[in-house]
Symmetry: C6
């Protein structure tokens, strides 16, 4: 039975569900229709892995600007799959590891996944896993090679694997020839219009009243911010929480939003 | 007797036939006349190794774009040789190895081959074996030197060896002076016309009826896709399997094919 | 009770309050209105960490020219938070450490902070922690990666953390993509007008009489120094103390100030 | 007596005569007058080492394109010297060695040679001994330095040494300042005219009859191949053996020769 | 009592006075008024360290051309301070040390200095301590970082430290951002006029008589050497001693001076 | 007594006289007046070290083209000094040493020299000691730094040291700032006129009769070779010995000289 198998897999290899849940602490706010589209796309991939005879390995790269919501989305899709093996590979657990140890830790997760009939692996912040830095374009070649090889390695007969990876550095992965190793990609966009901002502000109840919110949004609209606006939902959240501490949340929110948008 | 010798060799060094078979899980679809030509060319090389007194060592490099079908073809030629010693050297088994260990693992396979009267070695994804990355053109020089030397090293008297290697990076091997070490090359082309696409779609029975298939192909033809089309058979397979999951396979297949072709 | 908790945390992990106090040996002189604004901004961040449900991790980068007063300000904000866990990460304690040891020392401080309900970490001279040198743009990539990851790592449930970092190399951190890891920034400006110089000189009682001071300031004003003046408060202090040793403090101070300002 | 001394030397240090013989498995075909000239030049050097009081150390670099016949010629000259100490230093025996081990292995051969009154050392494929790769112009500096020093080191009193080295990378050795360390050079040319091709084809009895051979050569002549022809004797041999397997050797040989010549 | 403290410090950490004395074997010849100015400037710094409450750490960089007399001057200032702790950090004692050992040796001297109430540290030939080479601008980053940090590290309460460093590579230290770490600089100029040359020659009694000296100086003056003259006092000394060996010291001195000056 | 001291020094540290003698196996032929000048210059340096009170350390760099005779000259000057401590530092004895071992071996020779009242050290082929290669301008920075420091390190009181170094790479040492460390330089020129060639040929008795020699020289003169001639005496010797083996020494010598001269 499925539940039994699930428990067995969990017992043997542990599960990252708690960690993944903590990647979505502020939930997934449906501030634009694209959010639903992305979740649906994720579900489709999950189905494909489950059912196609010919594609036991599917991988998807979620890319977008810093704070766009990539990790939260990948974690959500992974958790919704309800596959018995769900694991997060994150640079946070690899601080201080040598290249060799990283390669082994990553390879080990793939190895473990091959023992479960259905598995999802989330690889968060690919460029950090690779120790990538734009200065001199340095990175761990051995980690990169290992990932490139593991992303192409067919699971053994009867095993199926979905890999979800996130990155802010689509261009770098392209230069590395690493994109060829993914079967698909998904672009996670920044918040770009005030309708979305309004939705988030409303959901988080930043202001005392709907009137205040409307005043704030109207002021923002008048400032012409929408034209050049592009802000990650993560940074938007930070701006909202900062404004919340202020004695004048409206003024602070409006001025900070303008500062954020003009900083780039 | 031959069978006895074969079994002895197998017993002593193992065989990669299962691994090689798993490289051709979706078979070799004869979607164009070039497929047959390539298989024939492979057979000719096998014969040459078997019979010429003066060329106990022949090597062939299969090169082409990502997903063009290089590995499946090399594996097929190797298996059809029916030589007693058939081995796959693949980066998949070398994840986490040091340069030194890789050199030794590769040298060991060549050493072992010298004990069998007739041997085939398949070296898959040469650029990955070399840990090549385009950023800074880094790679393992010691693995490269070892391969260059092993590709020129005559087997001992009475032993014959065919080496089949695959790569997506013909240009890089050229820059490395590694091409001089091969006795011949074979270019594996992408799928470039709708006749070939149609053959693959038909073989894999993507659509419910021949009518549906013809509709899909006609729509593709009208979209002018053929002009710029160049898609690896591997990616074509992935697109087909994705479309199969959709409630509207025709629409999905047509739109995905267009997306694939326009992505480059 | 709070005091009990505070003592417990101190007992377990030690505290850097003495070291931080020694970063402000010459006090914070309020020579311009910006000094108060900066201290207030610091207090606001402290409040945000204490109170917001959604932002348990806030980080701020103090940047400015060499000697602008960055370290003294960060230390002052940290000490004023009165959080139970207050730690200084400084290159001074890491002379002679290997990259690996540095990464571990830094990670350890973050780890320790996760055990206190409220924590402040001051990371002084980020570019030195990274062993950055402009010649060849060399730096410790592993320390950089560790910091980038730790700056994004959410503390465990119920724990909150404020990180204050200082640097003279905002541009380098930008090139490293490290700015994305901070939630906010604060620019610490050099002393740029004679009113501020006068305030500092007065506070430090360089001259025997107010008359002497006014003479000195008038001479400086006449020399047209204000136009191009930009001097860190630290260097200003050094100039004052040097002048104090001279038999003619007025003459020495005026000429040295001119020399300092013209050196750049 | 000479034979006794020879045996003693062999017993103490071994001899590479078998390996050297295997470098000339297809013999030295005298397809052009230059072949004799080169063999004579070699003999002259042998005499010089044997007889001059003032030049106990002579070294010669054989350079030319890949497959030009360099190794076969050097091996032949070495074997014809009939010196008691004859050793081959080849990259084939050094696969997987560290730089340090290579330096020692090479130095050891020179050391051993100093114990024989007359010695020849053949250093094959210098650029491979150096692990040279054109990408980034990487190579083993320590092996290079060792060779540079050993090529200038006078043997002890009463000992004489001839060093024969081969390379395809004359230009690289020049850039390395390594040419200064050789006392002389010899250029081994590719096959460049049909008379030479005809001589080789005849010697190897590719065709059933002289008539067939003449037909083939006439067709080649008509195709205007001679103008741009430049093919190593090694590759010519490979082309001949390939054609031999074909049901139509004439057609295959003509078309393959054209392909070979046009590939560059 | 002071003498007791001094002896204690000497006993505990040793003293470099002998080594420093040997840096001034040929004395300090007062060949120009700048020599006195530089010695006075040094004395002023010594006083500042002794007396100011606010600047317990002062550092000065002596820079100039090769042989200008930097080391002799730094040693003289250090010895004249009569501080109980006087130490020389010189590359001569670090030949063959690893980077790690160097960092430790340097850090150890600073550590030791913190135990004396008043200390001077002379760091000779900074660019050699850093293993700097202009080819490829290589240097020991870890030694550089250690020095940068130690030059900014406040001594513990009640301890005072003067650091005197010498270098020929002011520009390189500037590129390294190392100048920011010094509180002051002093430029040591080459000998640039014949009056100074005359003073040195007189002091060293190169010639038999004053007449000879005047003849020599007149000849030099006539040769127009003064216009382009720039020679380190160290090289001037070498030229004088060379001339002293000659049967014709006047002729030799004049011609060698011209050669020296024209060499650049 | 001197002889006793000499023997003691020899006993304690060994002597390189035999090795140095073997650097001059073909003697010093006085083929031009410059040869005598160079030997005299060497003698002068020896006297200076012996007698000056102020320059206990003198160093001289002999530089010139490959084979110009640098090593033979340095060895001759060293042997003629008759100092009790005479040592050769040569790359030949350092094949296979690590950088660390080289630094130690070199430092050890200097250390040993400090125990003898009078010492000469010959450092042969500086660029090889440094493992210098023009490709990428690689070299051992630690050996370079060690040499730079040792060349400036004063011997202890009462000890005197002359260092003679040879190199073909004056320009590289300049780029390394290594020339500043030498007190003097000497340029060893190639053979550039037929008078010198004639002198060498005569001395070595290449031809049967004076008539033959004159014929050869006349032919060379007519060929206009003198205009562009520049050949090291070492290569000239090799050409002579080669010609000696030929049945027609005159013809061979003339043609080889032309070949040598035209090769550059
Ligand atoms: N529609 C949404 N999509 C994604 N995240 C959302 C959404 N709505 C709210 N969030 C919240 O926004 C935050 C997104 O942060 P997340 O870490 O996923 O961004 P990121 O793109 O991975 O950032 P980084 O580039 O720094 O890794 C999370 O706290 C998440 O709960
Ligand atoms: N005619 C064909 N030639 C090659 N492969 C075919 C053919 N028909 C079907 N296939 C299937 O297509 C797939 C080709 O994938 P394969 O791994 O060989 O491509 P590849 O060029 O090696 O890819 P990569 O560049 O990623 O290594 C295999 O699953 C194979 O079974
Ligand atoms: N308003 C002020 N702000 C900051 N520092 C002040 C102020 N008034 C006085 N000071 C004193 O000035 C000095 C500032 O030095 P500090 O080390 O903070 O500068 P910094 O910018 O960190 O220098 P560096 O770039 O070298 O690290 C301290 O001694 C501090 O006590
Ligand atoms: N005249 C000849 N000169 C040289 N080799 C000849 C000649 N005639 C026939 N051969 C044969 O041709 C082959 C030459 O191959 P060889 O390995 O010597 O070439 P190479 O230049 O060393 O090649 P590579 O550049 O790959 O090292 C040998 O098998 C040799 O027996
Ligand atoms: N006025 C002077 N100033 C400095 N040195 C002098 C002076 N007069 C004489 N000397 C002598 O000149 C020599 C100066 O050499 P010193 O080693 O100090 O030069 P330097 O600039 O440190 O050289 P380098 O760049 O090689 O380190 C010493 O021997 C010193 O005794
Ligand atoms: N006048 C001379 N000067 C130098 N060498 C001479 C002279 N006359 C004859 N010789 C001989 O010429 C040879 C010179 O070779 P030497 O090794 O000294 O040259 P080199 O410049 O050191 O060469 P390399 O650049 O290869 O190190 C020696 O054998 C020496 O005996
Ligand atoms: Mg993320
Ligand atoms: Mg493949
Ligand atoms: Mg600071
Ligand atoms: Mg060869
Ligand atoms: Mg000095
Ligand atoms: Mg020499």
């Amino acid at each position: 039975d499925f539940l039994g198998a699930l428990e067995e897999v969990h017992a043997a290899f542990g599960s990252s569900e708690e960690e993944l849940a903590s990647c979505v602490t502020n939930g997934i706010i449906r501030y634009s229709p694209q959010i639903d589209q992305m979740l649906l796309e994720g579900k489709l991939r999950v189905e494909q892995v489950k059912k196609s005879e010919r594609t036991p390995l599917v991988s998807m790269l979620l890319h977008g600007r810093a704070g766009a919501g990539k990790t939260a989305l990948a974690a959500t899709i992974a958790m919704q799959s309800e596959f018995p093996f769900i694991k997060l590979i994150s640079p946070e657990t690899m601080v201080g590891m040598s290249e060799f140890q990283k390669v082994n830790a990553i390879a080990r997760v793939f190895q473990d996944s091959y023992r479960s009939p259905l598995s999802v692996i989330v690889m968060d912040d690919l460029e950090r896993l690779l120790d990538y830095t734009p200065i001199g374009a340095r990175f761990s070649n051995s980690v990169m090679q290992a990932i490139a090889v593991l992303l192409k390695k067919q699971p053994p007969k009867g095993r199926r694997l979905l890999v979800l990876a996130t990155t802010t550095r689509h261009n770098v992965l392209a230069e590395m020839d690493l994109l060829d190793s993914f079967s698909s990609e998904m672009y996670v966009e920044n918040v770009r219009d005030l309708t979305a901002v309004n939705a988030v502000v409303k959901e988080l109840e930043l202001f005392q009243s709907d009137n205040d919110r409307r005043t704030a949004m109207a002021t923002l609209a008048k400032s012409g911010i929408e034209e050049k606006m592009s802000i990650g939902v993560k940074r938007l959240l930070m701006t909202i929480e900062k404004a919340r501490q202020d004695s004048d949340p409206i003024g602070r929110f409006v001025s900070d939003m303008n500062a954020e948008v003009n900083a780039f």
